[in-house]
């Protein structure tokens, strides 16, 4: 049975696209057939993160409007044969499609794939409504910053109002050195505030920047963030993987932080 997952955040620039690309690759490496769909019509992004920008012929709008077959628009990933990209259009805008059309599209994709990952645009307007329409599971990406967490809270509220069956949290760009000093909110702080199931935490890692520069997502590779993404993918596929490295460090931190609290 296939699963349709939307990756969303509210605030822009927190790493939705990077997370989508890496989860897509990670699940594909676990021998699942995966398609990542860029639903940000007008502002194409996912193709460059995957390094597939030169292979685009048709896009999501072409499929919806029937100007091409689904197979013609899907682009196979360079790294993994199980991963496909459905790119978004750059010429149209978010109002070019309706939630109903998105539901149809995701239903068509679910006949072919195990996982359909929808990269949601920032904001809470039409693009967001389109992206969540067909999904049965939502991953909310946030960073440990006040503005990103506030927007994530709004998004979680909207997802709940739309009766999204499963909502999980990914906290991105954690800096362990700052958390140790108390200058950044920890994984526990953020998940306590947002009160949704935690799917994973990703450290702020320069390897992510390098990977994006090269157009090769690093999920599963030998870096802290690569490992963190791999753990997230294993959790999505149903495995019970502990949040190891963060929890041990936090234990010490929590005790120290107790001294500073009144």
């Amino acid at each position: 049975m296939s699963e349709i997952i939307v990756i969303t955040s509210g605030k822009g620039g927190v790493g939705k696209t990077t997370v989508t690309a890496n989860i897509g690759l990670g699940l594909a490496k676990l021998n699942k057939k995966v398609v990542v769909v860029d639903t940000d019509i007008g502002l194409r992004n996912l193709d460059v993160v995957l390094g597939l920008e030169n292979r685009i012929v048709y896009n999501l709008i072409d499929v919806i409007e029937g100007s091409c077959r689904m197979k013609q628009a899907l682009i196979r990933d360079k790294q993994c044969d199980n991963l496909f990209l459905l790119p978004s259009a750059q010429t149209k805008d978010k109002t070019a499609i309706t939630p109903e059309q998105m539901v149809k599209l995701t239903e068509a994709l679910s006949e072919e794939f195990d996982y359909i990952l929808l990269d949601c645009p920032a904001g809470i307007e039409q693009g967001f409504k389109n992206a969540i329409a067909g999904a049965s599971r939502a991953i909310v990406v946030t960073t440990p910053e006040v503005s990103a967490i506030r927007d994530a809270d709004r998004i979680i509220g909207l997802l709940q109002a739309n009766e999204m069956p499963q909502i999980q949290l990914v906290i991105n760009r954690l800096r362990m050195d700052m958390i140790k000093r108390g200058e950044m909110m920890s994984v526990e702080d953020v998940s306590e505030i947002l009160a949704v199931d935690l799917l994973g935490a990703i450290p702020d890692d320069e390897a992510v920047v390098i990977a994006t520069n090269q157009g090769e997502p690093l999920c599963g590779k030998d870096s802290l963030s690569g490992k963190a993404f791999e753990n997230i993918c294993r959790r999505i596929s149903g495995e019970d993987v502990p949040l190891m490295e963060f929890r041990t460090k936090k234990g010490v931190f929590k005790r120290i932080s107790g001294i500073f609290k009144k």
């Binding site: 910053e145 967490i149 506030r150 000093r181 108390g182 702080d189 932080s257």
Partner: protein
């Protein structure tokens, strides 16, 4: 409230967010306020004769408080107590 002189900013951020989000999560419609007002009048009317036209309910999102001002009947003719409380 006492605060540690140079409190690490992570704690400041958490406290600010907690306050902000609790108030933002309180969605409150005018319809709900009317229902609350009617319920309050009904409840207080069991014990005192309420001056219904002068009842005022205020809802403040920032401090997350509901304040009600419920004036009672001062006119001796209207102030028969225990109207609904008789057994």
């Amino acid at each position: 409230m006492f605060r540690f002189p140079c409190r690490p900013s992570g704690f400041v951020a958490k406290d600010r967010l907690k306050l902000l989000l609790t108030s933002e999560r309180l969605e409150c419609s005018p319809q709900m306020m009317t229902m609350l007002q009617n319920d309050l009048i009904r409840a207080v009317n069991k014990y005192f004769a309420v001056h219904e036209q002068k009842v005022e309910i205020r809802y403040r999102k920032d401090t997350a408080t509901v304040t009600a001002s419920i004036p009672l009947q001062t006119d001796i003719k209207n102030s028969s107590p225990g109207m609904l409380f008789q057994r």
